[in-house]
Structures are given as structure tokens and as C-alpha cells.
């Protein structure tokens, strides 16, 4: 009896062992935190070093510090004007930072900080994140606040005595703030798969061609170095 019972017991054991192996995978996929146990838990200091984002709508993540328009003008001329111009007018093909108000329905719109950007804290975030282009993330929080104040000022969004900080920036109402929709309305076209006699042959007209326009770089031979248009 005992020997006949031991065979099923051994089988049961191996089944349990197999199940055990499978269960490791199942429990890991069941998304219980730390199930794999790889890596190291991030320390507050590690997180603080890389946690640079400031949220556009409410400025969540903006650091302590402040900067005014006057200091911002000084830093801007040193750090930004080469590309963006002294008053944000833009040099060459580098982005204009001012003007364009009232052009968004024009044939050639000019979206700038003043005419287009919806949130002021985004300006702080982006300058801090990626500017100056050749030496990003080298400015102090105060200098970034100051540049932000200066740019908002030359766009006539804040007065000359404005001081940018974590409290004031989220309160700045950008002129174009309400002209964005944040839910995708597409599909917004309703073409259908017509197969025969879909349009009047007389209506088939070429209205634009790339032929003869001196815009296309060559696609054989060495890279084209054609000049800016």
C-alpha cells in the first residue's frame, strides 16, 4: 500500500515542481511590483538629479528661484541672441520667438511664443531642457526664469517689472491658450473606394508640379549642398 501510494506522491511532487516553475513566470507577468527584482530602487537623490520636467498647465516641477526681465535681457543677449536675435526676431532660419500675432489664419502664419505657445511654464521647461542649443542645461534656474521673463516681455505678455518664478509663471495667460484642441478629431476625411468612372475626366487637372522648381536635391552622386531658399 505504501509503495503503491508513493508513486502518485512522487508524480504529484513533480507536477507541483513543474507548476512552481510556471508560476514564477505567471506571477511576474501579473505585474506585481518587484516581481523580477532587476535593477536598483531609485534613491531620492538619483531622481532629483534627472527630474527636470515642469508641466505646462500648472508648472508642477518648476524649481525654486526667480528671474526678472532686465536680467533676462542681459542673459538673452549673451546666450540666445546669436540665433534668435536681440529681441527674438530670429537670425537666418533659426526660430523667431516674437511677433506673428494675428497671423494664424493668414496664408503664411508665424507661430511664435507670443502668437502660438499655449503655456508659459513650457517655455521655462524647454529653455532649461534644451537651450542654449550648443550648451544645453548649463544655465542656472534663476537665469532660465530671467530669460523666460524677458521673452514673455518682448512678446508684450508680461510687464517690464514681471518676475518669473514657480508661482507667477503658471498664472501667465498665454494669448493663444484657448485655441488648441487636445482630442484628435480624425478621421476627418471620408474618401471612399470608388473603382470605375469616379470623376469626370475633364476634372482631372494638374494644378501643381515640382517640375522646374529648383528645390529638389539630387538623388544620385554625392550629397547635395544646395543653398537655403
Amino acid at each position: 500500500m505504501s509503495s503503491s501510494a508513493s508513486i502518485p506522491a512522487a508524480t504529484a511532487m513533480s507536477v507541483i515542481m513543474l507548476l512552481g516553475i510556471c508560476l514564477v513566470g505567471i506571477s511576474a507577468n501579473a505585474a506585481s511590483p518587484g516581481a523580477f527584482g532587476y535593477g536598483t530602487v531609485a534613491t531620492p537623490a538619483e531622481i532629483a538629479g534627472w527630474d527636470i520636467d515642469a508641466r505646462g498647465t500648472d508648472g508642477l516641477g518648476l524649481p525654486p528661484g526667480k528671474g526678472d526681465v532686465s536680467h533676462g535681457a542681459d542673459v538673452f543677449i549673451q546666450q540666445c541672441a546669436t540665433c534668435h536675435g536681440t529681441f527674438g526676431e530670429g537670425e537666418g532660419r533659426y526660430p523667431k520667438l516674437e511677433g506673428g500675432v494675428g497671423t494664424l489664419t493668414a496664408d503664411r502664419p508665424e507661430p511664435t511664443v507670443g502668437s502660438y505657445w499655449p503655456f508659459a511654464p513650457t517655455l521655462w521647461d524647454y529653455i532649461n531642457r534644451a537651450m542654449p542649443f550648443s550648451a544645453p542645461h548649463t544655465l542656472s534656474a534663476d537665469d532660465v526664469y530671467a530669460i523666460t521673463a524677458y521673452i514673455l516681455n518682448f512678446n508684450n505678455i508680461v510687464p517690464a517689472d514681471f518676475v518669473a518664478n514657480r508661482d507667477s509663471l503658471p498664472k501667465v495667460k498665454m494669448p493663444n491658450r484657448d485655441n488648441f484642441t487636445w482630442t484628435d478629431p480624425r478621421p476627418d476625411t471620408n474618401n471612399f473606394a470608388c473603382m470605375k468612372n469616379c470623376i469626370d475626366p475633364k476634372a482631372v487637372k494638374i494644378i501643381a508640379t515640382a517640375e522646374g522648381k529648383d528645390l529638389t536635391p539630387r538623388t544620385t552622386g554625392p550629397l547635395d549642398a544646395m543653398k537655403a531658399k
Binding site: N29, G34, F36, T40, W117, P187, A193, C194, T209, T216
Partner: protein, 427 residues
């Protein structure tokens, strides 16, 4: 008849005499001289023998990492120098006109940088995951590769692909009108696996991904997409990601505008609302004719283009050809592609080539007998949701000419009687 006989009669004795010489153990120089005499006649087609058939080639590991034939030197990524202020914040284009199948070779995959290509040391690279999570983590590349791996084939398309054509036909080139796209087999770990490992707090609704490049490129993604099909990728077509594609780590957001597939990924932060970063407010938003702008328009809708003929690959002479092209949709699989040769009056359904994969490039083909007359070639994709690729006129009617992004319109190639091909738009 006479020429063929002459060629044959001159070549055969040469070959026979060479064989005799070799059999006799003649010096190599003698053989080379005879070879030169034979090649001087330019006989590489049969019955002649080309040089490469008469010399020993390079040995193994002559090129420890292979590269294309020197005769393919024109098949390269190219840029439009007038388009951007600097090469470091710019884009290059995949030479679609010269590619086969659905996989883009790693060295030809289009580039889009915001602060240049950075060369990251994978031993020093770290991924930080934090925010509204139970257990914030710092992961090394070895840690990331230890998680269960997934491989999937998907396209990445910059939403500005075709952006220069919103207003009018400008670029006479398939590479430049459609080349901001590539398709690869990507290998990595499901983002859902990593988010499960850190544990999401119940307020978690949005995820921010951020790069380690100087732009610290960052975008917000809704949590549902992250849990659905996003991958944290370290492999591209069987090898490590290329630096241009974010080595050693990027996120792949299948079917969505390429900008959200952030490269050189170093940080994932979980939050309760979107960040409205510069790249999703001032850029990658579409200005409509009424002055309003659309944001968070992530999906690249159904699109297709004929890759032969095209401006770079004109038609040689009247006769039978195969019209070939690519179709894709960020909403899933391609269901059907139709081709018109008369500017959209009549259409024929093409054959789709396997594999037909979700959010991947799909090949189509249609036999075409060109009679030498002018033709207006178009392709029209329909995806599994039933959405039909629109004409440029239909798009402009709704969105005007200033959206920059998400031009998925039907492309028209004008074929002239001499076989040359031009980028045109129809009214």
C-alpha cells in the same frame, strides 16, 4: 548572327589556350596577359567572361562588418539642406526608390535629430522609471535585457513626412516626398512589463518619456497606449539599435507619429496629466484654417505611395512593368490598395504581398502595360478600420495648407511620353 558567331569563335580558342597553359603550369603573368586581351574586347556578357569570374575575390573578414556593394553608393540617406537651420536639428530621408520588401536596412533608416546624434556608452547608460509608481527603479542595459523580450515589425514615420507638399508639389523625388519613414524588426521589453515591475499608483494616467540627448526630447503618452503595445527597444533588425535610432535604448510607439518614439531613452515618468512639452505644443501640432490648432494627434493614418515608377526611377520604354509600392497605417493592417493610371478616374485593386502586419509597411504590386502615353499614377490605401486614404484636395478642404504634419494624401506621379516621372498634384 554574324556577330554572335564571331564572338564565340574568338572567345573559345582563348579559353582553350588558357586552360592548356594552366595545365602546363604556365606563369601567372602569362594568364593575366591573356585575360587582359580577352577583356579588352569588353566581353562580360555571355559568351564572354567578366573579370570577376577570372580572379579570386576578397577573403572572409576582409570586411568584418559588411557593407553594400560599391555600385550601390548612390543608395544613401539624403537631406534637403534648405529645410533646416542646422544639420544637428534636422532630418534625412530613406531612399525608398531603391529598396525592396518591407524592411529598411539599418544604415538607410531615416534620421531625425533635435540636438544631433549622440554616441551613448551602454555600460554607463541608465533608465530611470519614477513618478506615480510604487517602486522607482534605475535599470542598466543588462537589467533591461534580462526582462522577457519581444520582437515585432513596425514602421516609424515622422508626421512631417510629406509636410513640404501641403501647399503645393515641391520636391520631385520619392525619397524627399515620402522618405521620412522606415520599417524594422524591433526587439525589446514591453513597456507594460516595466510598468508592472515598478507598480503603478492608482492616479497614474500619463507617461512621459525623455531622451539622453542634449535636447532631452520628451513627449507625453496616455497610459492606455503604453500598456497596449509600446516597446522599450534595444534591437533593430537583429543587431543593436543604430546610434541614429537611439542606441542603446529607445521607445517604440507603434503606428504613432515618430516623434513620440523617443531615442536614447533615459527616463520614464508616470503622472496624472500630460506635460504639454514644447514638442507637443509649439511643434507637432497642426494649425487649421480657422487659426485653431490640433494637439495630441498621434496616429499616422492610412497612407501609400508608388515606389516604381517614381521620379528617381522613370520608365525606360513602352511595355510590361510591375507598378510597385508601399502602404501602411497606424491603425492596424492594410486591407486593400488600389492603383489608378488615369488620375483617379478608374482604379484596380493590387496584390498585397505577405507578410501583412499591423502598423508595418506592406508591399503591393500591379502588372502595368505602359503604352507610351501620358499617365497619372496614384495609389490609395484602405486599412482594416475601413479608412480610405484621402486626396490632397480632400485634406486641404478640412485642414487647409498649414498643418505641416500628417499629410497622408494620395500621391500623383505624372508619367510623360518619354517615360520621365514628376511629382504633381491634381485639382
Amino acid at each position: 548572327m554574324g556577330r554572335r558567331v564571331d564572338r564565340g569563335s574568338s572567345a573559345l580558342p582563348l579559353r582553350n589556350s588558357r586552360r592548356s597553359l594552366l595545365r602546363l603550369g604556365a606563369v601567372v603573368a602569362g594568364g593575366a596577359m591573356l585575360g587582359k586581351a580577352e577583356r579588352a574586347a569588353g566581353e562580360t556578357s555571355p559568351p564572354g567572361e567578366p573579370e570577376w569570374s577570372q580572379t579570386i575575390g576578397a577573403g572572409v573578414v576582409d570586411r568584418p562588418y559588411g557593407k553594400p556593394s560599391e555600385f550601390e553608393k548612390d543608395v544613401i540617406r539624403r537631406d534637403v539642406p534648405w529645410l533646416t537651420a542646422s544639420k544637428e536639428s534636422s532630418v534625412s530621408f530613406t531612399p525608398l526608390q531603391s529598396l525592396n520588401g518591407i524592411i529598411t536596412p539599418n544604415g538607410l533608416f531615416f534620421e531625425r535629430f533635435h540636438a544631433g546624434r549622440v554616441d551613448v556608452d551602454p555600460r554607463q547608460h541608465r533608465l530611470l522609471i519614477h513618478g506615480l509608481v510604487e517602486r522607482p527603479l534605475v535599470l542598466t542595459m543588462d537589467d533591461i535585457m534580462r526582462f522577457p523580450s519581444v520582437s515585432r515589425i513596425h514602421f516609424i514615420e515622422c508626421p512631417a513626412n510629406g509636410g513640404m507638399e501641403w501647399r503645393e508639389a515641391q520636391l520631385n523625388s520619392l525619397q524627399f516626398t515620402h522618405g521620412m519613414i522606415g520599417c524594422a524588426e524591433w526587439t525589446g521589453v514591453a513597456l507594460s512589463t516595466l510598468l508592472g515591475e515598478v507598480g503603478l499608483k492608482k492616479e497614474a494616467k500619463w507617461v512621459m518619456v525623455e531622451g539622453a540627448d542634449a535636447a532631452r526630447m520628451n513627449r507625453s503618452l496616455p497610459l492606455a497606449k503604453c500598456l497596449d503595445d509600446c516597446l522599450i527597444v534595444y534591437g533593430q533588425n537583429g543587431e543593436a539599435l543604430r546610434p541614429e535610432q537611439g542606441y542603446p535604448l529607445r521607445i517604440l510607439v507603434p503606428g504613432w507619429e515618430g516623434n513620440v518614439s523617443v531615442k536614447w531613452l533615459r527616463r520614464i515618468k508616470v503622472g496624472d496629466a500630460p506635460w504639454f512639452s514644447r514638442e507637443e505644443t509649439s511643434k507637432y501640432t497642426e494649425l487649421m484654417p480657422d487659426g485653431k490648432a490640433r494637439g495630441f494627434t498621434w496616429v499616422n493614418e492610412a497612407k501609400s505611395v508608388i515606389t516604381f515608377p517614381c521620379p528617381e526611377k522613370p520608365v525606360a520604354a513602352p511595355g510590361l512593368y510591375e507598378i510597385r509600392g508601399l502602404a501602411w497605417s497606424g491603425h492596424g493592417k492594410i486591407k486593400q490598395v488600389d492603383v489608378s493610371c488615369d488620375g483617379g478616374i478608374n482604379w484596380q485593386t493590387t496584390q498585397l504581398h505577405e507578410p501583412i502586419l499591423s502598423k508595418a509597411l506592406t508591399r503591393f504590386a500591379l502588372p502595368w502595360r505602359w503604352d507610351g502615353k501620358p499617365a497619372l499614377l496614384q495609389s490609395r490605401a484602405i486599412d482594416e478600420t475601413g479608412h480610405v486614404q484621402p486626396t490632397i484636395a480632400q485634406l486641404r478642404q478640412v485642414r487647409g495648407t498649414n498643418p505641416i504634419y500628417h499629410n497622408n494624401s494620395i500621391q500623383t506621379w505624372q508619367v510623360k511620353p518619354d517615360g520621365s516621372v514628376f511629382d504633381v498634384q491634381l485639382g
